[in-house]
Symmetry: C2
Subunit: 226 residues, 2 copies
Amino acid sequence: MKCAVIGLGQFGKAAALALARNGVEVIGVDEDMELVDDIKDEISLAVRMDATDEGSLESHGIGQVNVLVAAIGANFEAQVLTVVYAKKLGIPKVVARAMTPVHARILHLVGADEILNPEEEAANRLVQRLLIPGISGYFELAESFSVVEIDAPAGTVGKSLLQLDLRRKFRINLVAIKHRSPNPDGTSMREEFNPVPSPDDRIRFGDVLALVGSDLDLASFMAEFS
Amino acid sequence: MKCAVIGLGQFGKAAALALARNGVEVIGVDEDMELVDDIKDEISLAVRMDATDEGSLESHGIGQVNVLVAAIGANFEAQVLTVVYAKKLGIPKVVARAMTPVHARILHLVGADEILNPEEEAANRLVQRLLIPGISGYFELAESFSVVEIDAPAGTVGKSLLQLDLRRKFRINLVAIKHRSPNPDGTSMREEFNPVPSPDDRIRFGDVLALVGSDLDLASFMAEFS
Ligand SMILES: Nc1ncnc2c1ncn2[C@@H]1O[C@H](COP(=O)(O)OP(=O)(O)OP(=O)(O)O)[C@@H](O)[C@H]1O
Ligand SMILES: Nc1ncnc2c1ncn2[C@@H]1O[C@H](COP(=O)(O)OP(=O)(O)OP(=O)(O)O)[C@@H](O)[C@H]1O
């Protein structure tokens, strides 16, 4: 797979490096020579150029990639032009970041196949974690239906999964249990991960439960056992 | 709950607004008057000030919040000082963003309770989605163990969950099925979400499966049925 990353700021650089680590052929582009220099030993090709120079994009082989990640930030005009030219060059998949829903809509209209807003998504996930104490992970599968990782509520400690009967009582699926226990030398904690919990497993104090269910059902479960 | 957000860039502003939408009392701080002005009608209190002014933080009541989100970006010194002063003021929970693992380590050492790197996390999630075609969602529960949303592989279409026997054969938990079907008027698609799939449910073409399992087991499942 061949991928172009346009804009090597925090997001673009992280994407370029992660792709390269996974064996993808990456062409990185930025108009800032320092950023191009920093990354050139870690990806296939790093080019200092203005991404809004259509001829330059083509002559550097950008048109031959399977995926282009448009990671320019503040300069919206350059971001839009990048997406437009990428589609003109026939690149099958263009992923673009957008600062706001309006920017996202515009980028969709000019051809972006997928839109991301890293800061907004991270902020929303953080807020979920802050609003519900004991939540250490949160991922929305659908409107009001999510995967959450929560500290085992007090009322569940010592009970077996069979007793809790989460599926029937709460329509909640317990997909994994993380158990923290002190290392044998007693100087640090280690984490045991149980991805296939069985009915006789008991919840222990300090366990983190990975649960899937509707937000309402998850809330009733936590209310019942807190 | 009372929350302070220091730095109203993309991430800070999104966090402040999301908290306020959820009824949290939010104090937003930035040294840029324009950003303070933009947000002042949507949160409890917006203050233009230098967050590294300890006295100023205290006199604006920052010390009374339950959670402080340190969302300053490029100015690392200001970010570090913000975390240090927040802990000095006795704020129980301080969440800080960090640009790199080294920055994260430093912020942890000076007292940050939780570290985020929105751009890096988004980039890693994007790369997962790009590397495995048909993945529309990805969330890591633990090292090499995740929740994925994938287009139903060709080989599963028409089969029932009982036949697929995912749990026993692949140690995979199918937690939900999203089914896309045309609206009755035939002009658009609607999505049906099945959060409690039963053994007789059959996979239909175009379904998106939400699966939980180890990366290896998920890969074998996809290899078997693609
Ligand atoms: N016309 C252009 N051609 C090439 N690169 C560009 C162009 N315009 C901007 N860039 C580069 O895009 C990168 C990201 O843009 P910018 O710094 O504005 O966004 P950001 O939101 O701060 O990014 P991040 O959050 O990823 O750090 C910068 O490194 C910048 O040099
Ligand atoms: N000492 C300070 N006191 C108050 N606010 C500050 C201070 N230093 C920086 N800020 C503010 O922090 C905000 C975020 O910082 P910056 O713009 O450097 O980060 P960023 O990575 O571009 O942020 P984002 O990705 O969230 O847009 C800016 O709005 C800036 O004005």
